[in-house]
Symmetry: C2
Subunit: 193 residues, 2 copies
């Protein structure tokens, strides 16, 4: 971690940041604490990260029992304000409201959850006398199906189920000429998860 | 855990649920897994809980760089559809957008975070030669201030800072005659936390 990173996060002076880093043998988190304890840095500033562009958008299903908040990033404010990008973000919010999803992409699924699904699929196939190689293949197919249900980008797009949501994002990226990233979303169901 | 609870969560038959519970010595989570492994219950059903009433509402700040999703519960659908309740929920969403908050109430702040704040406050006072009792009192005052910043219900209401947000909710509860609960919220800032 460099002095610059500590400065960006704390707004403290160059020398103060350097001193804090030397004092903590270069440990970023401890240096932040030193600066806070000396009253130089304020609470809550650690969460601030370098800004990126895009839109934060919401979709509330009629009746106010399901709602979604989503953030989609692009590279420039110019693209963020185009109708194409706005439409993509609204469609993604609606997709999450309609279909639900637990993660943006399969890399976001925790390893424990994958292991548990794998175990359950294997148990379902047990005692059917199938060879191990076939079981592996079936489990792996079932896992793909699982990803297609819980990962937004792998879901069939609700307004055109011949395409995945990922295809929709890719098409918008090529139209706008920028790298587009679904950063995060949440979905609230009244009285539920 | 009763058979009824397992039935509600899985949609499986009474006898199947009973059998799964006996097999797992009454362990709810394990019984759910048994039912899933046998193919009777489906993935993702565990999250379903008994419904409560209220509204899910969003507030997107002009420019789409800050957005909030909030769920507020009441006891009946009748109250959920009153203008008073709707106004409360919208005002709460706007409060979160304007002031930010990390938690609904002080009970929601993790013990580790409180311990850390306490430690930092104590360190700030060190070496000033104050008696321990005075330091305790000052730290406790600083902690109250901290709660007033990070807990929604303890914040001053942005549209009338003589009242707390909790006062606003209490007033609406007395007006509607129902117990009102801010269940959860999230706040996205573009490119930030």
């Amino acid at each position: 971690m460099t002095v610059t990173a500590v400065r960006e996060q704390t707004g403290a002076g160059m020398m103060e940041c350097k001193k804090a880093l030397v004092e903590t043998a270069g440990d970023f988190d401890k240096a932040m604490d030193v600066l806070r304890k000396s009253g130089i840095a304020k609470a809550g500033q650690r969460g601030d990260r370098a800004a990126s562009e895009g839109l934060v958008e919401a979709y509330i299903h009629p009746g106010n029992r399901v709602g979604v908040l989503i953030e989609v990033n692009c590279e420039t404010d110019f693209v963020a304000r185009t109708p194409e990008f706005g439409e993509l973000v609204r469609n993604l919010a609606m997709q999450v409201a309609a279909a639900g999803a637990d993660y943006v992409r399969r890399e976001d699924v925790p390893a424990e959850r994958v292991a548990k699904e794998r175990e359950i699929f294997a148990a379902q196939l047990e005692g059917q006398g199938k060879p191990a190689a076939i079981i592996d293949k079936i489990v792996s197919g079932k896992l793909d199906k699982f990803y297609g249900e819980v990962c937004l980008l792998e879901q069939p797009y609700v307004r055109d189920d011949k395409r995945t949501v990922g295809d929709l994002v890719t098409a918008a990226a090529s139209k706008t000429g920028e790298n587009l990233i679904v950063r995060r979303f949440v979905r609230f169901r009244l009285g539920k998860d």
